[in-house]
Symmetry: C2
Subunit: 491 residues, 2 copies
């Protein structure tokens, strides 16, 4: 078969790359580090967007849109922020091209230089807080609960489709509050929305936690993240929610009159998930045959393939298939009928396995006689022949079962690959031989975290929100510690 993948055991990284390309999800473009998201990949992203957007709106948020460009001077106003992003900024310096035959044709017009350079947004805190300054005078103007769906650019040197690209698509929430407590509550509300989405739609179990100071967002006082575990034992940060304190309000001088008639700086949060989630979705569930998609995010949940030798058989099969499609659609199930005569059933089976379609129905002349259909599920590659009576309920239950099963498989994998380490030797051994999450004591200092990272490449993924107090000693420094944190190698 032309579309065979490298196996995961042979080369996990190559398997991922093969899969993204051969399943028609995305490809590299002619622009360094920028990807083309192909229709099948984009259809999954659209499903993600629709669910997330619904969840944001249900929690009181509205959408808006802010400029792509940020004046360089704005960008520099919050010191940590510019420090964090300066090294990966695409900069617009001119606004016109001109024809110059002597210099090889179309060139940038040197007379069209911008007075102030513009940064292509890597994230929008600065332009948004500059705008909020005009929106906020009094506590009556608060809270502002705004989200934006947008593209952003971070000029990364090493890129990988979906996981790290120079341009990516994301949503970024930017909220403004009258009190610290309310801002923290918002930050936590959103990390719960992200976890809910990851677990109940993507079927990817995640750990919610706080980032250590080293791994915090540039400009945040506290960063919450959800961390998922991939099949190669590496962690993938899948969403972050930042409590920004009054940093951006101070940088952009955004104050408000409080209920008590005083003047105070506004409290802020920001939070985002991106097309990186596509990487998490692909890597968490898929196998050597291709994608495995959770039914709730599959572009089509069911594909139907007719099996026939003679043209007149196809007409009879199609008649019956049309009835099935009508029944499935009435249940809100999305279906594709692939009756192309240019491809054989075996080719189609492999194709839809590669594309991760959750349920495949195949119908041949014998099924017609018997009133049956062959049902294959993608997640565990099992098949059975079932009666056409109540096929709609049968498939509906099956899709629900597949959704649960995919989650359970990932959950069990994570459970098996989350280990405690109590000594430095143990830590290193688990890391090099098994990978996965390592729950260990840490002395709480950035210095120790750096030393561990330098020696092993492992980082603190998060300090889980759910934990037990436990006296212990830092695996590296031996200093006292009151709780374990979660280490891993990470994407």
């Amino acid at each position: 078969m032309a579309k065979e993948l490298t196996s995961r055991s042979e080369n996990y990284s190559q398997w991922y790359q093969d899969l993204v390309i051969k399943a028609d999800l995305a490809e590299n473009s002619a622009v360094r580090g920028c990807m083309v998201i192909k229709p099948y990949g984009y259809a999954i992203w659209e499903k993600m967007q629709a669910e997330l957007d619904r969840m944001f709106k249900e929690t009181g948020h509205v959408n808006a849109y802010f400029p792509l460009f940020i004046p360089k001077s704005f960008f520099s106003k919050e010191a940590d922020h510019v420090e964090g992003f300066a090294k990966e900024c695409a900069v617009v310096t001119h606004y016109r091209l001109k024809n110059d035959e002597e210099n090889g044709g179309v060139v940038v017009d040197p007379d069209a230089k911008l007075e102030e350079e513009l940064i292509v947004r890597p994230t929008s805190e600065t332009i948004i807080w500059n705008t909020y300054k005009n929106w906020i005078q009094s506590y009556r103007d608060l809270p502002i609960l705004v989200n934006q769906w947008a593209n952003v650019v971070r000029w990364e040197m090493r890129t990988r489709l979906f996981l790290r690209t120079a341009e990516f698509l994301w949503q970024e929430g930017h909220t403004a509050h009258a009190t610290k407590d309310e801002a923290i509550e918002e930050t936590e509300k959103i990390i719960n929305v992200y976890a809910d989405f990851a677990e109940n739609f993507m079927a990817v179990p995640v750990v919610k936690g706080l980032k250590s100071a080293n791994e915090r967002f540039a400009g945040a006082l506290e960063t919450y993240s959800i961390e998922a575990l991939m099949q190669d034992g590496k962690a993938l940060q899948s969403g972050t929610s930042h409590f920004l304190g009054q940093n951006f309000a101070k940088a952009f001088d955004v104050t408000f009159a409080t209920k008590e008639g005083k003047e105070d700086y506004v409290w802020a949060t920001s939070w985002g998930v991106s097309t990186r989630l596509m990487g998490a979705l692909i890597m968490a569930h898929s196998d050597d045959n291709g994608l495995v998609l959770p039914p709730k995010l599959a572009p089509y949940q069911v594909v139907i393939v007719p099996i026939y030798r003679k043209e007149e058989q196809l007409a009879e099969i199609t008649e019956k298939v049309d009835e099935i499609i009508a029944k499935l659609k009435a249940k809100g199930i999305s279906v594709k009928y692939d009756d192309r005569d240019t491809r054989k059933p075996g080719w189609k089976f492999a194709e839809y396995e590669l594309k991760g379609v959750p349920v495949r129905l195949a119908m041949g002349p014998r099924d017609l006689e018997n009133g049956t259909v062959e049902v294959a599920r993608r997640d565990n590659l099992t098949k059975e022949v079932t009666s056409l009576d109540n096929i709609d309920e049968y498939v509906e239950n099956l899709l629900e079962d597949i959704q649960q099963n995919i989650f359970k498989k990932a959950y069990d994998f994570r459970a098996e690959n989350t280990r405690k380490a109590d000594t430095w030797e143990e830590f290193k051994e688990i890391l090099t031989t098994k990978g996965g999450f390592i729950s260990a004591h840490w002395d709480g200092t950035p210095e120790t975290e750096d030393l561990i990272k330098n020696e092993t490449k492992a980082t603190i993924r998060c300090m889980p929100l759910e934990y037990e107090e436990e006296e212990g000693k830092c695996i590296y420094s031996g200093k006292p510690s009151k709780r374990r944190v979660l280490f891993a190698l990470a994407y």
Copy 2:
């Protein structure tokens, strides 16, 4: 009232600007020519997007995403195309900032210069056709029916909120076909989709037609447009669909094996509508009191305002209002209940008039006693008191009636403001005293069109697809002509 608008008769342009800002639709940003689309404005755009996206999918299209940046060399491959866009291109030349205290802090790092400059896409034909080259080998790979929702940048010198901005949001369809006929059919299919959307959702009547050579898209063989008439008698081009022939296929060497085993260049179309539609929507219907929104695109179709003096009356009213809301929602009608105690009913009435909410319900103690509610419609500012029995059906019918009425008003306005001119004097007189569409004979040459434009600023908006053959003489040159075309001053 603080939010009073300039009247249309006083200064139409200022009225528009006031309205966009005071109705919280959009505002200018700190970045020259770029706007912030505020939540209320964005909610209307989201409704537009949802309907258009549904229509594109129903006609067989899928979404995808291509890079924001276009290498300068790609951009230059199609001669007319680069000629058309070169003067308004934002150019990325560097990819890093650095701290340089001697030169005033954060500066562009001169060592981080790109080898080849990147253009921020003003439209995506070039990057997309460079991609399609790899997607298309045989007729089996065709057609490709792809749409993209994206931001684009055109460095316009004179900008106006929604109507002409340096960055705007749009959709751009890019399709690839095996035959010329099929590509033309696609171009026409889309202009019909756009007209359907404009008339049946935006309630804006449009003329479908072909652009003259002067007004064609840079790189197209034929441009179809829909043209709407604003209340000041100026036309607004609201959507375009281009038949690109084989121009881009030739520029990017995209060939395919035909069914007959030959090699041919692929045929192309592209088509787009943008946030400019927001400008059309606002200008077509609104009045001196504010926005008038067609119910099908209103963020909320109904607002309910309680009228009360004592706190305990509010509780009773709210109980009854909750019943109404439940009934309306069951009909798929969107409702906002504004029970804020910080604003008086009169203030709220003016606010929702300004924001163009199609139907306002007001309920006071007497309504409670009588089982009635006051219903006000935004389009004609009439009110009546009606029984609460069947209020859901009443409102449902009313919304439909408002949608029709808004369209009819705009349709009648256009009919009254479309005039025939048979002499140059007549043409100039209509143009200067009345404006509107002028249907006149033209000799078909770009030269005459230019002369008319230079003398009057009027342009040929389109050669309507529906027309009668009629012998006549060009109003300017006196040369023979077989049909009338549509002139107007335009946005």
